[in-house]
Subunit: 219 residues, 2 copies
């Protein structure tokens, strides 16, 4: 894959940062895109910017206004308590933004077409699955097919972390020599730079480092 | 389908207007959404608003900023001549906005999930096909699957016009008694209220009315 170009979806979190460096190793030319979608905490966009700079990767933040207009998730409404159950569907966590990755990948596809890029990398994992259906392989496969047909353009969505546990993602970062950069990543749903330890995202992060037997450089 | 609710994607053109009235006949409760995506001519949004009002249907215009940021199509750049060939891919018409329906359907899916609506109606046709791959049935089928998987939610995308020629679409509007409303629809890529007769969209519209043996009420 070394002579190909790719777009990496970079949220500024641990997984997408690991995916970014995986992409750096596997593609000749990469660029990162992040989405300012009205999320509660802009701290993750700052993290993405910093990480892209360190990785020496071109970085574009795309502003999207749809979710705010649809107003449908706790992540978008600061007045709501993140710990509460989702009102609409109890099977899904309250933090679920319906179709977030669907929208992100749709935009990435359009961007890739425009730039004649054939590869998209997204750092989703269906292990340690936290209730987001658009992080699963069957969705990614279906969406890749949708993009190819809808754009009449051969495009591949790579998911290097899809089968990895949080522990394995930590170990991959270590293996690639970028573990130290995890101190710049943002995880906490409550917007804390230092993990709150209470929200689901922080709990998962802590579990990964603990099981890998490595101290979180963010602490 | 009478006891179900549905969302109709309403562009303000002839096809989506026909699809809106088809939906009114086939669903109990419908609402329409339109997209303000930085298109050259706001006249089509005004048309959509007027048509939704006449149809007595709830209407929401969703502002999306991605395409302007990606800057990738003649429709979004007033300085470019619409008649010129697309610079990036000669197989596709210059008016192609890559992934427009992909993005529209992604947003419609998110909106549907939030409102617990299970049906989306889009007035695409793969007959009289003008080079838009995201108007074809194979794309719609793949995308429907993507939405169901990515939202973990059973959703159906209806394409009542998919196999219809422009002539048949005119005849369907006539059969439903809404032919006269076609005077409120907008078609012209050059932004003329009265069809310019030169752009591809106006040519297709004219062909449909001519083949149906009916005068275009817009003229």
């Amino acid at each position: 894959m070394k002579n190909k170009s790719a777009i990496v979806l970079l949220s500024g979190g641990q997984d997408s940062t690991t995916a970014l460096f995986w992409a750096k190793k596997n593609f000749q030319k990469i660029e990162a895109i992040s989405f300012d979608y009205g999320q509660r905490h802009k701290i993750e966009l700052k993290a993405a910017k910093k990480i892209a700079k360190i990785a020496k990767v071109k970085h574009k933040i795309i502003r999207i206004k749809e979710f705010e207009q649809i107003k449908n998730s706790a992540l978008l409404d600061k007045k709501l308590d993140i710990k509460k159950k989702h009102k609409l569907d109890r099977k899904l966590p309250f933090t679920f933004v319906p179709g977030r990755n669907i929208l992100f990948l749709a935009i990435a596809g359009s961007y890739a077409w425009t730039k004649r890029i054939k590869n998209i990398i997204i750092g989703v994992s269906e292990v340690d699955y936290s209730g987001y259906p658009d992080c699963r392989k069957n969705f990614i496969n279906a969406f890749e097919k949708s993009l190819c047909l809808g754009l009449d353009y051969k495009i591949k969505i790579h998911t290097p972390l899809i089968n990895k546990t949080k522990k394995q993602i930590v170990l991959l970062a270590k293996k690639m020599g970028v573990l130290n950069l995890m101190k710049y990543t943002h995880t906490c749903y409550n917007g804390n730079k230092i993990p709150c330890g209470v929200c689901q995202a922080c709990k998962l992060r802590a579990k990964g480092f603990k099981n890998a037997g490595i101290a979180d450089p963010l602490k």
